[in-house]
């Protein structure tokens, strides 16, 4: 099976920088900002890494899940903490669906007898 038989390929993660081959000034702004975002600040780099891991699951980006599973471990999180972060993402996704049940109830309430 060739590399192109999948939309996603693990080795492509290492090629992320290649998006800067066209309009490098735009890519540079992104990567500078990205680096600054993840530095220790009011939140620690470890906490930011866990947020990134959770968001990676919410947006279901396999590259981000790969990158931030490793990053979270390197930043000092353990599997309990990482699993809790994924549950947070899942809870918000699930909750976001469920809370729209209120809209459903509003519509049904208006239309129904």
């Amino acid at each position: 099976m060739s590399d192109h038989d999948h939309y996603y390929h693990p080795k492509d993660l290492a090629k992320f920088g290649e998006v800067g081959k066209n309009r490098p000034e735009l890519a540079q702004k992104f990567f500078d900002w990205y680096g600054a975002v993840f530095a220790d600040g009011a939140l620690s780099a470890r906490e930011k890494s866990l947020i990134a891991l959770a968001v990676a699951h919410a947006v279901q980006c396999p590259y981000c899940i790969d990158a931030y599973s490793k990053d979270a471990l390197e930043k000092g999180s353990d599997l309990d903490q990482m699993t809790e972060a994924v549950h947070v993402a899942a809870a918000i996704r699930g909750g976001a669906s469920l809370v729209h049940g209120v809209q459903m109830r509003n519509h049904a309430g208006k239309l129904g007898m």
Partner: protein
Amino acid sequence: MSEARPPGAPRSLAARGEALAAPARQLEMLARVPLAREFDEALQPADLWPLRPTKIEIFQINVGKLCNQVCRHCHVDAGPDRRELMTRETMEECVRALAATDIPTVDITGGAPELNPHFRWLVEQCTALGRHVMDRCNLTVLELTSQRGLAEFLAAHRVEVVCSLPHYRALNTDRQRGEGVFEQSIAALKRLNALGYGDGRSGLKLALVTNPVGAFLPGTQASLEAEWKRELKRNHGIVFDALYTITNMPISRFLEWLDSSGNLEDYLTRLVNSFNPAAARGVMCRNTISVGWDGRLYDCDFNQMLDLTVEESAPMHIRDFDRARLEARSIVVGRHCFGCTAGAGSSCGGATEK
């Protein structure tokens, strides 16, 4: 803490009769991995080849491979089954060599160095010479019934205690170091704190060491230290002075795990790709001399475990110690050395990039 080991407890490579227990087999395994470049090729553009000592500031003594733990990542292949221990005579040669120099720091390691029956004698001799003594302590040894009074002894001799604790939670600590190790480690840290260790006022320095629990590099030392301090204080009321991050070296039991888990090539590639010239300038072999349990001399504890003695032009045994000749030597390097130069670097004192 009981000193009996449960049946089925992990054992050293040597005890299991594994071929990989032999350093030559470890070097062969490393040599088979396809890598983009060798360590000397990485040093050349950084103007560090051949690698030379700066000045010997740390006299590191490995007093033996005996340990009460069998950690999965141990580069020494230490364990309760190991019987290699430094004799009193070899220790006397170490003290004689030390007394003839002004090397300020003595770093005592193992195994669990405290289990050497002459450990306390060695500490007393080194402190009597006015040297700063560091004890590389696995923490659980402080809880052994046979070691009663050990913490008090270390405090009385103002020994800096450098303790292994891979994580501030039990999960990863026990995964790397064995079931129940975290709980015992916390008890030992509280024992040290009660003596004034780590309080920032007593002068009794308590440092923790963290190794990644897996095939990845440690995070930023300063950032992890802040987390470790906050979490150990919050959850256990424990204080300490410093956290050192150490990269796992691809030798001995960690090498075995890398190979069996299918991580070996990716891990070595990561180390090579993360080569940092600034970290390389600060590697510990440049300011350390390492003495093996049998008195042979090495550039570092990792070379010691690979049977790579100092180059032949230098004195090769502690009885022949000659500081000037040792400081004129070239340091023996190999592929495993990428472990000390990746990212922010790694040494017995943590990250090396200043």
